[in-house]
C-alpha cells in the first residue's frame, strides 16, 4: 500500500530535485571551474580561485549590502502596511469583498509591467509625483538618478506590489482568531491597542513568520523589478546580487564566476532566513510579555 503512495509522489519529487537541487549541485561544480571568454567558454578546473575572487570582490559585497538593505526595508514596510491592510479588510465594512479584490490587483500584475509603470511615475520632471512637488514649490525629486534616493524608490515600488500578498496571508491568520476573545477583552476594558498587542499579534505570530520568511527569500532574490526600474543604477547603487549574477553570465560571459555569485547569494539568503527564524523563536519564548 505504502509503496504505491511513493510511486504516486515519485514523478513530482524527482521533478523538484531536477529543478531545484540539481542546479545548486551544478553550480557547486561550476564554481570550481573557469568558464568564460578567456577559456573559449570551455570549463577548466581552477580550484578555489573563483571563491577567493568572490571574497575579494568589492562589487559583490556592495551588492550584498544593497540587497540586504532592500530586503530589510521592503519586508519591514510590507509587514507593517500588510498588517494594517489585513486589519482593515477583516472588518465587516460595506464593500469588503470588492475592496479585497481591488487591493490584490497590484500583486497579480507582472513585475516587469508594474516596474515600467513606476519608472514613469517616478520620472523627473514629468511623473505625477514630481509634477505635484513642483506645483507645491518643492522642486523635483530625482527618484531614479540619485544613489541616495533611488534604492528607496525601488523599495516603494516593491512594497506597492507585494503588500497585498502579505495582507492576504495575515488576513487568513486573522480569520482563525475567535471573535469571543476580543469580546472578552473588551468586557475587561481593554483598549483596541491593547487587544491588538495582547491577542492579535501573539496569535498571528505563525503567519507573520511565514510571511517574513517567504517575502525575505523573494526580496533577497530581487531581479525583475531592479532590472526594469533602474537597471541597477545610478552608479550601481541599486544592483542586487541576482542582477550581478545575471550580468556575469549574460554580459561578461563569465559562467564560472556567475555560478559562484549565485551560490554566494544563496548563502546570504540562508543565513538571513535562519537569523529571522531564530529571532521569531526567541521573541516567542520570551515570557515577560504574556501576563
Amino acid at each position: 500500500m505504502r509503496w504505491r503512495l511513493w510511486l504516486l509522489m515519485a514523478p513530482a519529487l524527482l521533478w523538484l530535485v531536477a529543478i531545484f537541487a540539481a542546479p545548486l549541485l551544478h553550480y557547486a561544480w561550476l564554481s570550481t571551474q573557469a568558464q568564460s571568454v578567456l577559456t573559449g567558454l570551455e570549463p577548466r578546473p581552477v580550484g578555489a580561485e573563483q571563491w577567493l575572487r568572490l571574497w575579494n570582490d568589492a562589487r559583490f559585497w556592495q551588492d550584498t549590502w544593497q540587497t540586504l538593505r532592500f530586503g530589510a526595508a521592503s519586508v519591514g514596510l510590507e509587514m507593517v502596511l500588510g498588517l494594517a491592510m489585513a486589519l482593515l479588510l477583516h472588518q465587516p465594512l460595506k464593500g469588503r469583498g470588492p475592496l479585497r479584490t481591488i487591493s490584490l490587483l497590484p500583486w497579480a500584475l507582472p513585475t516587469t509591467v508594474m516596474a515600467l509603470g513606476w519608472r514613469w511615475i517616478f520620472n523627473d520632471p514629468y511623473g505625477p509625483i514630481n509634477q505635484l512637488a513642483t506645483r507645491l514649490g518643492l522642486g523635483g525629486i530625482p527618484f531614479l538618478s540619485d544613489p541616495a534616493i533611488t534604492w528607496m524608490a525601488s523599495v516603494w515600488a516593491d512594497t506597492w506590489k507585494t503588500t497585498p500578498f502579505v495582507a492576504l496571508l495575515l488576513l487568513a491568520g486573522l480569520q482563525t482568531i475567535p471573535a469571543d476573545l476580543y469580546e472578552a477583552a473588551a468586557l475587561e476594558g481593554a483598549s483596541g491597542w491593547q487587544s491588538l498587542r495582547r491577542i492579535t499579534l501573539p496569535l498571528l505570530t505563525p503567519y507573520l513568520l511565514i510571511a517574513v520568511l517567504f517575502r525575505l527569500a523573494q526580496a533577497l532574490g530581487v531581479f525583475d523589478l531592479i532590472q526594469v526600474l533602474t537597471g541597477g543604477g545610478p552608479a550601481g547603487s541599486t544592483e542586487s546580487l541576482a542582477l550581478y549574477a545575471y550580468l556575469n553570465a549574460m554580459r561578461f560571459l563569465d559562467f564560472g564566476y556567475s555560478a559562484t555569485v549565485m551560490l554566494g547569494s544563496f548563502a546570504v539568503l540562508v543565513v538571513v532566513a535562519a537569523i529571522a527564524a531564530l529571532a521569531f523563536r526567541v521573541g516567542r519564548s520570551t515570557p515577560g510579555e504574556v501576563r
Binding site: 514523478p11 542546479p23 561550476l30 481591488i102 513585475t111 509603470g117 496571508l169
Partner: protein, 265 residues
C-alpha cells in the same frame, strides 16, 4: 477614510498609466498646454507593431496553460500521496517543499540557460513548461495536499469497501470533490507562469516568441534617451488588462486559494 486611502494606493498608479496612455506625447512633457487632447495613437502603434503586442499576450497564455496542465498532472498524485503517507514522512517532505516554494527562481536561470542550450529547448514555448512546472510544483503540492487532507477518510474507506481501486477512487470519488481546490491552484499557477521573467528571459530570444514579461522589459530597454512614455503606458495597460480581468472573474477562487494556502501550508 482608510478604505479610500487603500483604493487610491492600489488603483492610483494604474489609473495614471491609463491616463498617460491616452495622452499625446507632447501633452506629457508639457509642450502642449490647455485644451485636453486625447489620442489612441499609442495603442495603434502597439497593436500594429512588429510583432504585434497581442502576440505576447497569446504566447503568455499558451505557456500559462501548458505549464498549469503539466503542474497539475504532477502535483495532484503527489499531493494525494503526501496526504496519506503518514505523519513523519509527510512532515519532512512538506518542509522541503515549502522551502522550495520560497526559493527565488532567479537563482536557477544559469542552470536553465545551460539546459536550454544543451537540449536545444531555447525558443520553444512548450518546452518552457518544463521548468515552469518545477517552479510551480511546491505551491501546488502544498495547496492540494491541504485540501486532500480535509476530505473525510470514511469516504475513501467506503469506496474501498465498494471494491474500487486506487485509480478509480482518485478519478471518481476524490477528484470531483477536489474541483474547487484544483481550480484555485490552477489560477495561482497560471498567474505565476504568466508573470515569470528570468527563465523566460534566458529561454526566449526570438521576438515573435516572447512572453509578456520579457517583451515588456525589452520595450522598457528599447529607448533610454527619449521618453516614449505614452507607448510605455499603453503597453502596461494592455499587459495588465488580461490579469485584471482574470482577477475580477475568479476573485473568490484566487483569494480562497491564497488564504487556504496560508492557513494550512
Amino acid at each position: 477614510m482608510a478604505r479610500l486611502a487603500l483604493l487610491v494606493w492600489s488603483l492610483g498608479p494604474m489609473l495614471w498609466q491609463l491616463y498617460t496612455s491616452l495622452r499625446p506625447t507632447e501633452a506629457l512633457t508639457g509642450e502642449l498646454h490647455g485644451a485636453a487632447s486625447w489620442t489612441l495613437s499609442h495603442y495603434q502603434q502597439l497593436l500594429q507593431g512588429d510583432p504585434p503586442f497581442l502576440l505576447y499576450l497569446f504566447n503568455s497564455a499558451v505557456v500559462g496553460a501548458t505549464s498549469t496542465a503539466l503542474t497539475l498532472a504532477l502535483a495532484v498524485p503527489c499531493a494525494y500521496g503526501l496526504s496519506r503517507i503518514g505523519r513523519t514522512a509527510s512532515r519532512g517532505l512538506s518542509l522541503l517543499v515549502a522551502a522550495a516554494a520560497a526559493f527565488p527562481a532567479v537563482l536557477l536561470f544559469l542552470a536553465m540557460l545551460e539546459v536550454a542550450r544543451d537540449w536545444h529547448l531555447a525558443n520553444n514555448l512548450l518546452a518552457l513548461s518544463l521548468p515552469y512546472a518545477g517552479l510551480c510544483l511546491p505551491l501546488a503540492i502544498l495547496l492540494l495536499q491541504a485540501s486532500f487532507r480535509d476530505l473525510p477518510l470514511e469516504l475513501e474507506e467506503a469506496a474501498v469497501m465498494e471494491g474500487m481501486g486506487l485509480w478509480q477512487r482518485l478519478r471518481w470519488v476524490l477528484l470531483p470533490l477536489m474541483a474547487p481546490a484544483i481550480a484555485s491552484a490552477s489560477l495561482l499557477i497560471f498567474i505565476f507562469c504568466w508573470n515569470e521573467y528570468p527563465i523566460a528571459l534566458t529561454w526566449l530570444s526570438r521576438s515573435d516568441l516572447l512572453t509578456l514579461a520579457p517583451a515588456m522589459a525589452r520595450i522598457a530597454g528599447s529607448s533610454v534617451y527619449t521618453i516614449p512614455y505614452g507607448a510605455f503606458a499603453a503597453a502596461t495597460v494592455l499587459g495588465s488588462t488580461p490579469l485584471i480581468l482574470l482577477m475580477l472573474v475568479f476573485q473568490r477562487q484566487i483569494i480562497s486559494g491564497l488564504t487556504q494556502g496560508a492557513i494550512k501550508g
